[in-house]
């Protein structure tokens, strides 16, 4: 392995690296450094959310009960399946399967990502709009804690909106990956773009894993909650 640098270079191997293993590790490290900034980016919203939730819990419970929990849960499942298909796409490249296999899993992942956005728009944000739950633009909710619910909905739309923007970016990345795979850019030695895009995709999944209970399930859904 140490003489790899002196032997024929695999496709995609950059010359500043000693070995392709080192290149892969550098790519992963760089992607994680980016994801750490993303953790803190979303973290700022989560911090604000925690403070406002602790200060105005009754309003947040009332606001949470306006959300469509069934579709929130369904979307969680959609994202988990998409994380599995993404992992299988990377594995298929890593183990040198036919490019058709990798493309199949990538397209599958893309469709699930699109389904997530579709469910969100059609079954959540659209009804929210009609129920007057969109602060500033279409607001006529007047329950007992209306001003606090307004604040909750601001959090809801900012957090799920930022997450949805990340999903759209993810779909763009997947599209590029599908094209690159079709053009034989990856091999069992070189698949870093697939792998680090996978890291991004899984990260977006993790954000939703937290958004779902924190936004949809405040104060429970049991009778009398």
């Amino acid at each position: 392995m140490s003489d790899l640098a002196h032997s024929a270079h695999p496709q995609g191997f950059a010359h500043q690296f000693e070995e392709i293993d080192q290149q892969r590790d550098a790519g992963r490290l760089g992607m994680w450094a980016f994801l750490v900034t993303e953790i803190l980016f979303f973290g700022g919203m989560f911090t604000a959310y925690i403070i406002y939730r602790l200060k105005h819990l009754p309003s947040f419970i009332e606001g949470s009960h306006q959300l469509k929990v069934v579709f929130g849960a369904a979307n969680t499942a959609v994202l988990i399946v998409s994380s599995l298909t993404m992992a299988l796409a990377i594995r298929s490249a890593q183990t040198g399967r036919k490019k058709g296999t990798t493309i199949f899993w990538l397209v599958f992942t893309w469709l699930l990502g699109a389904a997530f956005i579709g469910i969100k728009l059609h079954f959540e944000w659209w009804p929210d709009w009609h129920e007057g739950l969109v602060p500033r633009f279409h607001w006529f909710y007047n329950g007992p804690h209306a001003p606090g619910v307004l604040m909750f909905m601001v959090f809801y739309f900012c957090m799920t909106g930022l997450h949805a923007v990340h999903m759209v970016v993810g779909l763009g990345i997947l599209t590029v990956l599908i094209i690159m795979t079709a053009r034989n850019r990856f091999s069992a030695e070189y698949y870093s773009p697939l792998e680090i895009s996978g890291l991004y995709w899984h990260f977006v999944d993790i954000v939703w894993i937290f958004l779902f209970p924190l936004l949809y399930l405040i104060g429970g859904r049991y009778p009398g909650s």
């Binding site: 989560f46 602790l54 849960a73 599995l84 001003p147 993790i206």
Partner: protein, 124 residues
């Protein structure tokens, strides 16, 4: 796929499909569990249980789907540092917010039609 198999290094850890499927099923069970638990009255325990499930799901995704179980020490340090900084942000922000009393802001400062005005007048 290009044919470079003979020159390539294969030190990479290939996660078995069975591991991926196991993690996947655990994540789905976690989702069902967190949703189901919300329909049962557990008093103050509803939120802690939801958070424990969310953190467990996150750990599974990070360790197996994101391959951190097989990552280098340097990568792990970066990840831990990220979460450590997040903990600092949350802890110190809460510490500040919940131990400080606020001066009343003159409301004209916010202007008419401000979205935040009704909130301020409601709570402060």
């Amino acid at each position: 796929m290009s044919d470079h198999g003979d020159n390539g290094a294969h030190a990479e850890h290939v996660v078995p499909v069975s591991t991926y499927l196991g993690v996947f099923i655990a994540l789905l069970v976690g989702t069902a569990l967190t949703t189901g638990v919300a329909y049962i009255d557990l008093g103050k325990w509803n939120t802690p249980i939801a958070l424990v499930i969310a953190f467990t799901k996150m750990s599974l995704v990070v360790l197996f789907f994101m391959h951190v179980k097989y990552a280098t020490g340097l990568t792990r340090v970066i990840i831990i540092a990220g979460f450590f900084w997040l903990a600092i942000m949350i802890t110190l922000s809460c510490q500040d917010e919940f131990t400080r009393t606020w001066e009343i802001v003159p409301q004209g400062w916010l202007g008419n039609g401000s979205m935040i005005l009704p909130l301020l007048s409601r709570f402060f």
